[in-house]
Symmetry: C2
Amino acid sequence: MLIHELTDKECFDALARFGFGRLGCARDNQPYVVPIYFTYHEGHLYTFSTAGQKIEWMRTNPRVCVEVDENTSPVQWLSVVVFGHYEELPDTPEYKSERNLAYEMLQQRVTWWEPATYVAFHHHRGADPLTSVFYRIHIDRVSGHHAVPGPVESATLPAPERATKSEGRLLSLLRRARII
Amino acid sequence: MLIHELTDKECFDALARFGFGRLGCARDNQPYVVPIYFTYHEGHLYTFSTAGQKIEWMRTNPRVCVEVDENTSPVQWLSVVVFGHYEELPDTPEYKSERNLAYEMLQQRVTWWEPATYVAFHHHRGADPLTSVFYRIHIDRVSGHHAVPGPVESATLPAPERATKSEGRLLSLLRRARII
């Protein structure tokens, strides 16, 4: 397996493609991790949430970490880690353009399979704006790694790992979901 | 969609079943999130890692968070959040039984599709013990939520969401992987 570091541009491309990861925030040095849907735009991750623990914590301490990953096979995976900080996009005139941008981009991203966020988005957007908090993560620093099979592994891998990228990804997903 | 809280036992069952999630640690209130493979046993998550940033941080501040989740459909998902603390299992006589336990359990869990961890496990276990750090997370507090379709959603969902659990999970995985 050969592991190489991703450039900043490759990291941003991966963030734009995935749109899903885990957000870490912290209070009194106690970390807290939750799943997060987002959309990437020019050095920021835009998203929203219903008010709750993570919003409270990020208001207290804006330092956050967002992690995304993709596992295609034992020797083919990609991971990106963002260190950044939280900025709320309140419903006030000075944040109107950022909120509109976030709203439009998030609306494009939402697809039928997305879980609670989808429901919250459609349920809350016209109902009770007080419970929906729009915010963005400023990306201060990003790093990423990509693993690909080395020459020996390519030659010795059994058939499933020699499948096409899509096939390999499907097989790994099916196995991970314990469907096969 | 109906959301209900999981009991502690349901959370532990989910942790035992998944064996994969994201670990959050923190230093100076800066969170850091990484993927993690683990095995659950009697209130602890056992795992190992090559030495690196997260180990350094957890040695400094043992407070951690582990998050696991599963999205089957927009209205069917499960998530578990663990607050706990780090305990290293050094290669010393007093930790021999815990290390053996961790080793045996992790060996049972490793399957072909697991990424870097798999390679690291097999590569390092007999080679250079200094670079492999066994540790466990003591679970101090756990919480979890499970969402299932409500009566209205069950009646109005289009065909894919009315598929069996396995079919629904497969469809969502295929779409998420952008295979279909």
